[in-house]
Symmetry: D3
Amino acid sequence: MQVLLFITGEDVKLFYHVKELQYHAKPERPDPIFAKQLQEILGGQFGEISVALQYLFQGWAVRGNGKYKDLLMDTGAEELAHIEMLATMIARLLDGAPVGDLETAAKDPVIGAILGGMNPQHAIVSGLGAMPADSVGNKWTADYIIASGNLLADFRANLNSESQGRLQAVRLYESTNDRGVKDMLSWLIARDTMHQNQWIAAIKELEAKENVVVPSTFPNHLEKREVSYTLFNYSAGNESATGRWANGPSMDGEGQFNFVENPVPYGNKPKLKPAPPYIHDTLPAVIKGQSGKIPPSMY
Amino acid sequence: MQVLLFITGEDVKLFYHVKELQYHAKPERPDPIFAKQLQEILGGQFGEISVALQYLFQGWAVRGNGKYKDLLMDTGAEELAHIEMLATMIARLLDGAPVGDLETAAKDPVIGAILGGMNPQHAIVSGLGAMPADSVGNKWTADYIIASGNLLADFRANLNSESQGRLQAVRLYESTNDRGVKDMLSWLIARDTMHQNQWIAAIKELEAKENVVVPSTFPNHLEKREVSYTLFNYSAGNESATGRWANGPSMDGEGQFNFVENPVPYGNKPKLKPAPPYIHDTLPAVIKGQSGKIPPSMY
Amino acid sequence: MQVLLFITGEDVKLFYHVKELQYHAKPERPDPIFAKQLQEILGGQFGEISVALQYLFQGWAVRGNGKYKDLLMDTGAEELAHIEMLATMIARLLDGAPVGDLETAAKDPVIGAILGGMNPQHAIVSGLGAMPADSVGNKWTADYIIASGNLLADFRANLNSESQGRLQAVRLYESTNDRGVKDMLSWLIARDTMHQNQWIAAIKELEAKENVVVPSTFPNHLEKREVSYTLFNYSAGNESATGRWANGPSMDGEGQFNFVENPVPYGNKPKLKPAPPYIHDTLPAVIKGQSGKIPPSMY
Amino acid sequence: MQVLLFITGEDVKLFYHVKELQYHAKPERPDPIFAKQLQEILGGQFGEISVALQYLFQGWAVRGNGKYKDLLMDTGAEELAHIEMLATMIARLLDGAPVGDLETAAKDPVIGAILGGMNPQHAIVSGLGAMPADSVGNKWTADYIIASGNLLADFRANLNSESQGRLQAVRLYESTNDRGVKDMLSWLIARDTMHQNQWIAAIKELEAKENVVVPSTFPNHLEKREVSYTLFNYSAGNESATGRWANGPSMDGEGQFNFVENPVPYGNKPKLKPAPPYIHDTLPAVIKGQSGKIPPSMY
Amino acid sequence: MQVLLFITGEDVKLFYHVKELQYHAKPERPDPIFAKQLQEILGGQFGEISVALQYLFQGWAVRGNGKYKDLLMDTGAEELAHIEMLATMIARLLDGAPVGDLETAAKDPVIGAILGGMNPQHAIVSGLGAMPADSVGNKWTADYIIASGNLLADFRANLNSESQGRLQAVRLYESTNDRGVKDMLSWLIARDTMHQNQWIAAIKELEAKENVVVPSTFPNHLEKREVSYTLFNYSAGNESATGRWANGPSMDGEGQFNFVENPVPYGNKPKLKPAPPYIHDTLPAVIKGQSGKIPPSMY
Amino acid sequence: MQVLLFITGEDVKLFYHVKELQYHAKPERPDPIFAKQLQEILGGQFGEISVALQYLFQGWAVRGNGKYKDLLMDTGAEELAHIEMLATMIARLLDGAPVGDLETAAKDPVIGAILGGMNPQHAIVSGLGAMPADSVGNKWTADYIIASGNLLADFRANLNSESQGRLQAVRLYESTNDRGVKDMLSWLIARDTMHQNQWIAAIKELEAKENVVVPSTFPNHLEKREVSYTLFNYSAGNESATGRWANGPSMDGEGQFNFVENPVPYGNKPKLKPAPPYIHDTLPAVIKGQSGKIPPSMY
């Protein structure tokens, strides 16, 4: 890598891809079963596709620029590089993956285990490439991502994503004996450590500016304040009454937690009006238990 | 409501439903357009179905009992009651909703606005009932919910859900002039205030016990510590270098944040091995730019 | 249509398509808003794609041939023809559909209503063709269909499909003033009348052979017979105690309905065992409310 | 369970959860493969989430109260308790589930079978908890549920759900040797027996009031009566002509079934008009087989 | 097959089903693992359901009739017959499929491999029938299909479908030792050969009429011609500069390819305006790094 | 942009983001209705998310490096920049978007049109930001993308994507009067012109190396050659017989096209064997029309 890529700012590209990986992604040996499992942190609910697109969409939506937007773009771009590392690792875990049917499986227990345990789409669909899917084969969906325009809300989403993501990476670390895979996971786990720390720092900063309830810009008096700090007991047993959330000042410092052991309903038994005839719901008479026969003249 | 429902513990039911609502759900007047919008907090990503099932699934998965499980069940059961309030409100907003085509729409601009702006499935599919769907009609999916077995991770998910949910409820509050709808929303917004406070309290308690990085049970030395507190600059501009997340001790107290302006790749340019012939990927020769013709003898 | 298509049985084709429609599909005038609504019975949960593929998949799965399989194939093939009728009608309702933005909409209230009320994908994606989607634009999914290999179960699914489908067609009939559309709907509604009658007839025949509980082949004594005919009261109020389902002989003739007003739990309070350490769930100590700090030696 | 939970009606809660299970949910021994299979009746198309939410949404939409609504709420609340039983059972079947890669699998055939046959998300994602997903890992979706506002239509949906659900529970009963699992399934199967009986009873009552075709409120003469009782032969072979559905009085008592062996089309060959130029569909000239070159002046 | 089905054109049916298969679909022996894999080309992204419905929807949308429409209907109807062949084959591969749990699996490695490797829904849900799903169990969705009203665009979609489809069929051919399965696949592979040839022929014909860029009807001068034939280098390394796509006349004959090694941005750094207060996004002050505290008077 | 970003190759980052846009994305004025429509080419089936991830996944899966991989990475990275342009444009079209209910809508027809025609999630969910969704609100899904490991197959997918994508961009260009939006679209349309040309060039090169049928590596003699070039007439009318695809040498130069007007089935009428009793499908006796009553002893 001796070439001079950018000489001056005039050469600024946009999204720009460099072929080197952020970190090594080389397993000791192929393992198509583990390739299937590893898909979880590539294309699952908290996989790298989710965090990459979540941070980018949050960043693109920031109204006004500054350090929060820059932080989102920095991290979003890094997660794209993580997708690439995982895609590379998975392709290598699939190197030379066998194909076959029951006859093949019956001949050799190890091949049989692979055929039963690998994702068949890794052979049939992607031709031994990684897929934008999770460890059971569900395709990635934007249902997984969150961007609301409110940074405190979204940084909490991000902290959750990095918490779930690191948890899954750690579980995968525990599931493999391959030192190459463990090495790459130790990198991703460390990055998740940073990202949890980073979002906590950003959250604390915003909470100091805005207080802790999102959105901070809704006037308190417009909400039903009498139940803003109340824990209602809707499950038998009152262990929950002993927690911090039921005692002492509320976390936003604007009220006192309290516990209601036997909550009563504040509303009435609802009764909905009949639907108009053109909707053809069950007739009111029938609901009441009477006959719903339409007079023959109607036919 | 004068009947004695439970005399002794022997009469303990399970999930038990009472017909009264937790709080009033009566609009001043029907409004099918707003009914469509209100679906967001019933059946959207952060609607009441999501929080109800998220808390219940987390609660059912707690290994061991105690106050956290009780808290999850209390709150999960309450969210079921919120679904019912919203379902009731939506049905009432749909009271007597008109149906029609362009001819109907052209005759009266207000009817026309309703026909264009309401969700057609409210008439055709549900017969003026609420649907398990969001404000554009996407059906609710369990892709929205999170339950990992790790309570600190999950309480962060919950804090995010209540933050996004309250934000959406507030936006809906701003969108309506109906005092009945506003009244109900002021209840839900207050409950979200409590639920944000409650999860913050629970998170703080767990963080005090476990420190802030999830999962806390993975030995530090197994991760690549040299990058555990580093912000890499992958987006032009270095505004992000000025944040707390790039300076001072890390939030977990176990390192120092640092900023790398010009990060270098730690990995090589990956080169994947060819696939076996039975996979029928593009041949290595073709990838290299040579002919891929198969000798006639192969046919 | 004077040509002789098939001379002898040797010319038997397979699925074979004839260009004529089963029935007319010509609206009086274009109406892009109604085109959007009509999508419901083409590509919605109970639209024609659903019944066509449901009947065909059930038919292909029949183990052994005979009249039930033939009936399924007859009806499945007819539903394919209904898809074509609806696709034709929708394309004609979209004839010359306008496109435009707010400026266009602001100029003419009727055009404005169309732009707001039509499905934008009818212009942008399908180029004024029908889409395999419902009235809010959700794409058709095989989640909608049912085929279990048990004909009594499946015919009940079919009866439901035709009931929901006719209900939706009737609601659409009520929503339009266009005589061409009403004419086509009156055909589809009549066919749904037949199909409801037909599945009822088939169900009665199977129930006479097998009794009413599916599957009939599971020996009674293996189920917990003491609760096979019991209505448990899990919702306050006991109006449900007055129904036929709580009194008299059960519908399968093998028991007596009964009502339990105050049901008690038969099971214990469950307590799950801790997860193994490699799963990294919250530690048992933490669940119990104790510290979850890992000794430094672990790091 | 000695505590007095409710003293008077004033203490009426809403949805209320009691920690005891409706019935035992304890396997003899862990079995992660069966845990995966059992997910089908928790989070599959006809699993307990589906029936719980289906009955609740139907109940909330009933316009007017009475015994049908009460029945729906009773049953919906019970199904919530069934979700809990299954979630508990699945968590216990996952107790101590192993994790690992090919190396682990190759060492011990039984561990290998578990690793290949279990759902990897049970370890990586849920941390040995049940998931809101089916036996292949598809997440639960509200596409599965039905609530139309027409009770006869919806009770048919319910009868189908309980038929498919009991069929699946029976198949799972046949698939396990574990007496604890069989015991729990024998409870669920019995409840499905009740629920089938119950919906049949309710359907019969409504049919007696409304006749059998849904919706009963659409005047007969508006449908194309000449084809309301006709079976068209669209599949070679006429075995279907011998069924009850092709002979004798129709099930609604308003017509005579008949069979048409060689049905003719009632409609013409459709020909759609060209799209406007701004839609950029293929030009009419090109469709006719002529050149579609645009004159250079257009560029 | 001695019966005379159609005597004259007056007997023309619509979609018509004949019970014979287009080609044999009989395996040498059951193989539930292969049944699962074979689902890919029945209900996967490029399975037979996809091509059948894609061609039919394209055909129904053709505005004007003629040879292209006829070709689409011919091929769409054939693909329905392919669904039937695959459904039949899969049902036979499932003949007598075992069910069981870990205990069953542990007793016999071959049964164990089947239980781990088969799709559990083939037993629990479909009762040994084929499902409208792919090889990992994702249900078929209309997200897979394409119909735009522009035939050149759509025939390119079709060529892609037949290319991906044949590739998958070939990979499955390589995966089985069963001569019956191979025989059926050799038929489907040959038909895909025809269908690729056929769409190439149709594409060449349309390209000759319209030139190669879709849509051909958009005047050139309205696009930003200065970048219509430019390859921008957004990935380090310039191997791509050596391809035909970066040198010589463009394929549409209307320009010259060129390569820009160091592309510069043509746009500015975007800065979005603040959202209105009723949206409750993060406040501009907070974005800028100032306090976001709302004055107490607001509460 | 005066800063020197990269001095030497040692500073090579990975995915790297620059804040300038590839091209301007500024509308003349806000238009929330058009913002909704524009979502189609951001998050729809052929939107920029689809092409970005499709090219990147194809690139990461290339086994061996070289110009094809480089081309994929160049283009994939560019599409990321297009997502950013569209996200920026959509946010600006949403500037100051109104919220409101029927009362608000009734007061001002233009506001009413906006409330009816805009995507409500743009206000409630994203806070006036772009969403990863299409023009009717369906969330983006990886079901849209294709990467098979076979470059000729995949480049055909790419050519289709760019054809559908340019068609949609052109339709949107026709739908707006805003010169700023038209300006940006004219850029995207030009880039799609390039990308169509580019994939055509790459396809021609691969076809020259491999011939036209994918995969080229499957020996001809293993497919059923007698039907490799045959058009079967499965739709009444034989206009399709007149096309190039039914006459003359096949496009792969290895056969002759031919047309079969009255195709016969090559397979038999399939008859499936009964399922084993533990599957509880309908009993063979019942299928045959006999009684399915189980002897009482079985209960």
